[in-house]
Symmetry: C2
DNA sequence: CCAGAATCATTGCATTTGCAACAATTAAAC
DNA sequence: GTTTAATTGTTGCAAATGCAATGATTCTGG
């Protein structure tokens, strides 16, 4: 089998390679994992979010959220507290240091992403956006029909 | 930040979700990991491949190949031997049991993939193929210009 | 032919991850 | 109102992973 023409492999390996380009920035320079970066993206411009909101708005499960949040807390980038309205939930928000780091880091990540995407034409980028959105929808439809 | 419109997240999460759909088949039913499945795909219709060829034709490094191959060997799906021409290299090939399992498993995986992709139009699938190919090329160009 | 550099597969070790279990809290049933 | 079920965050433990080190083999330059 030639993997170069096998769609599942092309999707997985291309996505992985692109993600690695971004990890090269926020990981190598600042020691953040993918999960930490993902939470950081959500918390950066929100006042505060609960653990439930974080789980729902990412693909991370509760263990991943708990562990990534703990690491961000250890780095003093976010704070964790117990929700007043539901003591089972946690409320997270960025510290000042977190906001500052994000303001510095995000443009670098964005620059890296754009410098890769700059090698694609506008029409190619539109194709990719539409194709991905369609695939995402297809996966969702498939899951609901299986249930 | 709304991750739903953020390209890097859309790419990563969609690719992960699609991959998981296939893992549901070859992983849940047969206990194979992504890495094992990837080697299995290459070895299934090849007489034999060396470790070097496997590394080059996948995104797996030598440690991943060594460990995945060991597990496939433990399951009696492939054989490992030392190359005659270069005793540093290993030569892998499917066992009869491996060939048989692959013949049974691959159609199931393919059916699963097609049943997801069936929810996309032909034009959407073409967009995705073209967009992915363009992104892959862009990543490659970006890497070479950095070097 | 030979000494040193290079390449390969494997292993040890530390970290990460997935999954089940657990304690704390809330919701539901009656 | 009380008991039971359900939900949440965390932790323990086993398996997986990344990375450096190692041993074995081959290549290189004289």
């Amino acid at each position: 089998m030639n993997l170069d023409t096998y769609f599942p492999y092309q999707l997985a390996s291309t996505a992985e390679a692109f993600s690695q380009k971004l990890v090269d920035v926020y990981g190598r320079s600042y020691g953040l994992s993918r999960e930490e970066w993902r939470l950081f993206l959500l918390l950066a411009d929100a006042k505060s979010l609960t653990s439930l909101e974080l789980s729902q708005r990412t693909t991370l499960d509760k263990v991943q959220v708990s562990r990534a949040a703990k690491k961000l807390d250890d780095k003093n980038l976010i704070t964790r507290s117990i929700s007043e309205t539901d003591k089972r939930l946690r409320v997270y928000s960025c510290t000042d240091a977190g906001v500052k780091l994000f303001a510095e880091l995000f443009p670098k990540v964005e620059l890296q992403a754009q410098s890769v995407l700059a090698h694609m034409s506008t029409s190619e980028r539109n194709d990719l956006d539409r194709g991905l959105a369609a695939l995402k929808r297809a996966i969702s439809l498939h899951s609901s029909e299986q249930a």
